[in-house]
Amino acid sequence: MNNKATILIVEDEAAISNFIATILKANDYQVIKAGKGSEAQSLISSYCPDVVLLDLGLPDIDGLEVLSSVRKWTSVPVIVVSARSHEREKVEALDLGADDYLTKPFGTAELLARIRTALRHKAARGEAQIIQGEFTTGGLTIDFDRRLVLVDDKDVHLTQVEYKIVTLIAQHVGRVLTYDYIIQNVWGPHASKDNQILRVNMANIRRKLEKNPAEPEYILTEVGVGYRMTDNDSETRG
């Protein structure tokens, strides 16, 4: 009966580590704790956890270093937890291969939602990426086979590039994608780093998909970082 997902908490503050562990255990996850970066590295190799919650401010090694060394040999989902609120650090963590990030302080609902998203993507990673069938979140449906995007069952006409962006974000539903990541995957690796064109395309998409562009339901902005598609799975922020 041991098919509970295992979650490694890398956090040097005992109080925070305790409260996260309590929430996770109450939600039927198995929990391992590490207080140091070096400990985390060995625990990841010996336990192969399903998700790693990695705090960036560790006493021995910088969390970003742990992340990049772990990324060399495993694709285990890593959710970075950080008190650093500057978006540049978030982008850096995401570019180093973090799957998601949480800024302290965060709510329990948010934490659980991110872990569920990470687990789902881990499961999906084994198979080929979903580019067939249908994708639905709220009133938005993407029919990959027929290249159709529907909002509340109404056909929405998107340009080639807009369709690419929407499907890319949909494939990573619930996760934030950085501007650079989207640009590279839509316009190719040699595209200009200037994200203006992406912002303009996104504004057009918003006007086509959302009822009110200032209160988007499907594609949310993470200011200074990138975009995230909302998950059916009660997305909460606080």
Binding site: S85, P105, P213, A214, V223, G224, G238
Partner: protein, 519 residues
């Protein structure tokens, strides 16, 4: 004025110029003609000498230097002897009385010419002195009112260039890595001063605080003449001249140059002190703002921390004696207070983002207005799921330069204030409008409004008196004062329109173009 000095200084007393020779010849010829006409009929022969002496005086007046006068004197003596005395049209200085007569005539002529020339020379020198005094006076006058180093430098280069008709370069700081350079003069002069080998000579003047360059002992192989500008043994910069060295190397010119340089040094020191003083004032102002903020915050933090500490120790010490409902209440109080603390800390983080840079300017990037508004509203909705908010943004896509996180914080603070203090069941309206040069963000609530006596202190953060503030209103001032700091740092304005019972509208503007530069 400058022209006069220059022309006069070109002349020297002991050289004979062709134009002077011409004058001398002409005047002497006229004198001879006049004497010939008057001879025999009106005057006695010997009086011809007087006409020649007059001619010598006239020559001395119209020519420069001693030589023309002397030459005219000799010509006069020769003329009288040759033409007007017996034997006519032949030289004879030996007849009785002649040596005395002609020697006297020669001496008188030379003396008159010397006196005339000397008085002219004196007049010339005093005119030069006067115009130089005027020049220095004018520079001094203008330097006093100069605003900033740039102003001083352009004034100085322009003046010196006019004064000596030379090319001028002014390096502020070490010439090898100057903070500023100002040049004046003709294109050719400027090119000379810009040559590669010039800079080391200038740098040497700066480092050793000595005059270097052409016609000096140091680095004399370059085109420019470099004078260090120092104050109290501290080098401030270097002035380089390129042109006719005689202009400023002759004693008078040198004194003038020294006077001008001294004026420049004083003006620059004055400028430096003024600048320093301003910086100290700005720093003091910042420090004051910070300490006010700190005071207000520590006061505000104490309340929720006391409540958290109290509630949690009650729970711990009760030993399970509390009934379910009380326990729940205490814990939810802890949660509310800690959430409030979190928001306060978020605000404080924004403040550090503004003051992190030395220039107190924010790090601006073009951001989509609708994205910022959407994220702010999203966060508010997560905190207050029951609250209704109507959001309106312009149909056209707007990208304006801002620090997105900070502006988001401003919007969150304003909406949160509207929710907490407005207490109205009607939805809050968040609107963005585009104007000619600005984008206007406004947050409207239909609640209690703000009493007019509170308005002056609204954005100050710390002036709210403790007794006028209920617990529910704590932190409002700080939030708004942070909003104001953020908006001001962006070059915008924040204001409120309110009347009691009518609700209030907070609005702030952001310039569309990045026009805020260092002041």
């Amino acid at each position: 004025m400058f022209e006069g000095i220059r022309n006069w200084m070109d002349d020297t007393s002991f050289c004979l110029k062709p134009v002077d020779m011409l004058y001398t010849g002409l005047i002497m010829a006229l004198a001879t003609l006049l004497a010939a006409l008057l001879n025999n009929q009106f005057i006695e022969r010997i009086h011809v000498a007087v006409i020649y002496i007059l001619a010598v005086a006239v020559v001395s007046c119209f020519t420069t230097g001693y030589l023309p006068g002397v030459l005219a004197s000799i010509l006069g003596v020769v003329g009288v002897n040759y033409i007007f005395t017996y034997p006519y049209l032949a030289f004879d200085f030996t007849r009785t009385g002649y040596p005395l007569t002609f020697a006297t005539m020669l001496i008188v002529s030379i003396m008159i010419s010397a006196l005339t020339t000397k008085s002219k020379e004196q007049a010339r020198l005093s005119a030069i002195r006067e115009s130089r005094t005027n020049a220095v006076y004018e520079i001094t006058k203008n330097l006093v009112t100069a605003g900033g180093f740039e102003d001083i430098m352009s004034l100085v280069t322009e003046y010196i260039s006019k004064l000596y008709g030379c090319g001028v370069v002014f390096y502020l700081g070490d010439p090898s890595q100057p903070t500023q350079i100002q040049m004046e003069g003709t294109k050719e002069q400027k090119e000379k001063l810009q040559a590669i080998e010039e800079v080391p000579a200038a740098a040497r003047a700066y480092l050793n605080q000595e005059i270097t360059g052409s016609h000096t002992k140091v680095s004399s192989d370059v085109m420019g003449y470099y004078i260090p500008v120092t104050f109290a043994d501290r080098a401030l910069g270097v002035i380089g001249l390129c042109g006719d060295v005689r202009q400023w190397e002759d004693p008078e010119g040198k004194i003038l140059l020294n006077m001008v340089i001294t004026q420049i040094e004083m003006a620059m020191e004055h400028q430096r002190l003024t600048k320093q003083q301003q910086e100290i004032l700005v720093e003091a102002e910042k420090e004051k703002m910070r300490s006010n903020l700190l005071r207000a915050i520590s006061h505000d933090l104490r309340t929720p921390l006391t409540s958290i500490q109290g509630s949690s120790s009650v729970i711990l010490e009760s030993g399970g004696m509390l009934d379910e409902e009380t326990l729940r209440e205490l814990i939810s109080d802890i949660k509310t207070d800690s959430q409030w603390l979190i928001r306060m800390v978020e605000n404080l983080l924004s403040v550090t983002r503004i003051s992190a840079g030395d220039t107190a300017k924010v790090n601006k990037k073009p951001e989509a207005v609708e994205e910022i508004v959407a994220e702010a509203v999203g966060r508010i909705k997560a905190r207050y799921p029951q609250q209704k908010i109507n959001v309106k943004v312009p149909e056209e896509f707007l990208m304006i330069p801002m620090d997105g996180t900070l502006i988001e914080q401003v919007i969150i603070n304003l909406i949160e204030n509207a929710i907490l203090h407005g207490k109205s069941p009607l939805p809050i309206e968040m609107t963005v409008k585009q104007e000619k040069q600005d984008v206007v963000f406004s947050v409207r609530d239909y609640g209690e409004g703000i009493a007019s006596q509170e308005l002056p202190y609204l954005f100050e953060g710390y002036s709210l008196k403790d007794n006028t503030r209920s617990d529910g209103k704590r932190g409002m001032g700080i939030g708004l004062s942070i909003c104001r700091s953020i908006v001001k740092a962006h070059g915008g304005e924040i204001e409120v329109i309110t009347s009691p019972g009518q609700g209030c509208t907070f609005y702030f503007t952001l310039p569309k173009e990045d026009t805020v530069h260092e002041q």
